[in-house]
């Protein structure tokens, strides 16, 4: 299978902040690759380098064999970028936005209009097509944004945290669009902070922390490292805390976390231990239980499993944008 993205030894610093630290990444054509990591891990920097917005300090980055540093113009012809901030022109209508992007991608005006009409229908924006984009909801704006990236039928599309800030219904719709894209042969590089999203969409994943890939594999491989679901037991009485912690450790083993403040004990449900067994054991022991629930593993759990420390933002919120901020100075 041809390679869509080939990155080797990629480095990028903003002043004293290291955003990418000898990063390696390979994405085969026609697949969805997820970059999973907390704020400030370097996900957006990777996307900005690959979409020719940032020049790397060192290393190699190729898109379909074209070097992003040597021939950025050629790269720009084959990619579509959906950044973190909805890149739509607020005062233009949805249709005008798409036609403009089409024209800038060198489509003829009739071709741009036809394509814009197709995409608006396809993304359920037909009724809103002739309204200014500033009247759109968050979900509609995102869909318009993705549609704009698809005007020139790119071979590779970057989706940088595409569902951040979207309501669940809009998120589902966006997931559906991504699946359709891939079914038709487009390669997708997706960044996300949500393990669930990566699990839903990606064929392969790279967990990124402090500018490095610290783990990679299929979502299943990563999840098996994390354990599947987590059992969360909340107690009523402080006196039961130690007993319960011991019980859970015996039954579920590694990965347990216990917080005496909130009286909450949680552990991944391993293949051997089921929730029913756990409830039975707890009832036998006579501890008073406030609440028992099961939760899906989170990014934090992945980090805990892979690095032994919790996911943390390298810099509060702004780190991913350091590139931008520095360029203004």
């Amino acid at each position: 299978m041809p390679t869509a993205i080939e990155v080797a030894g990629l480095c990028k610093s903003f002043g004293s902040v290291t955003a990418l630290d000898h990063l390696e990444l390979t994405v085969p054509e026609g697949t969805v690759h997820g970059l999973l990591g907390p704020n400030g891990a370097g996900k957006t920097t990777i996307v900005r380098v690959l979409s020719t917005l940032l020049t790397p300090d060192d290393g190699r980055a190729e898109v379909f064999g074209v070097d992003v540093r040597r021939d950025p113009r050629q790269v720009r012809r084959i990619i579509g970028l959906t950044g973190q901030y909805a890149a739509v022109d607020e005062l233009l209508t949805g249709r005008e936005n798409l036609v403009m992007i089409g024209r800038l991608f060198r489509l003829s005006r009739p071709a741009a209009k036809t394509r814009a009409g197709e995409l608006l229908e396809r993304f359920d924006l037909g009724d809103a097509a002739d309204r200014p984009a500033r009247t759109y909801s968050g979900g509609m704006r995102r869909r318009l944004d993705v549609a704009a990236s698809l005007m020139a039928r790119p071979r590779l599309i970057f989706l940088d945290e595409p569902t951040t800030g979207l309501d669940p219904r809009s998120r589902m719709e966006l997931w559906r669009i991504v699946r359709e894209l891939v079914a038709e042969g487009t390669t997708v590089l997706l960044t996300t902070q949500y393990l669930e999203e990566a699990d839903q969409l990606a064929h392969s994943l790279s967990v990124v922390d402090q500018g490095k890939v610290i783990a990679s594999g299929t979502p299943d491989q990563l999840k098996s490292q994390v354990g599947n679901d987590w059992a969360v037991v909340t107690l009523i009485d402080t006196a039961d805390f130690d007993t319960t912690t011991e019980l859970l450790r015996d039954q579920l083993g590694a990965g347990l976390t216990a917080d005496p403040e909130t009286l909450r004990v949680q552990a991944p449900l391993s293949d051997g231990g089921s929730l029913a067994d756990l409830l039975h054991t707890l009832r036998e022991s006579g501890v008073q239980i406030g609440d028992v629930s099961v939760r899906r593993p989170t990014l934090d759990d992945v980090f805990l499993a892979v690095t032994g420390h919790a996911a943390h933002s390298a810099e509060p919120e702004t780190d991913e944008k350091t590139g931008e901020d520095t360029t203004w100075s």
Partner: protein, 276 residues
Amino acid sequence: MVMTSAALTPDSSAVAARPQGGVSWWFSDLWEMTLRNIRYLVRSPEMVLYSLLQPVLFILLFAYVFGGAIEVGGDYVQFLLPGIFVQMALYGSATGTTIGVAAEMRTGLMDRFRSMPMSRTAVLLGRTVSEVFRTVASLAVMVPIGLLMGFRFENGFLPALGGMLLLLLFGHAVSWLGAWIGLSVHSAQAAQAAGGVWVFPFVLISSAFVPTETMPGWLQVYAANSPMTTAVNALRALFTGGPAASDVLQTVAWSFGLIVVFGWLSMRKFESLTAR
């Protein structure tokens, strides 16, 4: 949902097959960029009206409050209006471009443009060219106001037209200075302040409202040679009569100077935003 199954299929040949760059595509990009900025003006006309507030205020203030006390050796309204026209072109172009560029540079849309195979110069140029349209729209309001107040184009149609074109050129030149400031400031709020703050003294220390001869000697040296003064004097000569050539040439020279210097600085600044 309608499923037009071919719609998402990647096919970059559609783009790749078209010629690299090329002059006709550059003009196409420039037109698309100008078009979107003109649409802004049409859809939020309050921006045009806002840029007219200060000139209208100044007309009223100078014609009816200070004017009686200013001796210009002739009709004060006839003296004042060319100054007001230049002030309007200057203020609108400078603040409009500064604020517009600064706000736009912080949107995801710029990232999208820069990740596309389009001309980068077209992005900024589309902005400054559209400012010319704003100045035309402003003139359409200000000229009738002037005529109502008694201003007359006493020198005939062609010199008047020439004066208008000179005004548009000067306004366009100043919008490049505005673009450069807009690219250099760190926030939209700073742009708001930086965009207009220099305009006020720049406009006042000139022949726009009072004859420069009344100023102290050291200030006269500056005021008499300020591009604001040459532009105003050129318009006065073209609209009312008198020797125009020297001031017109100086204004044209200033304008091209500003376009070359700040056009170059702006483009470089714009490029450096991606080079990091």
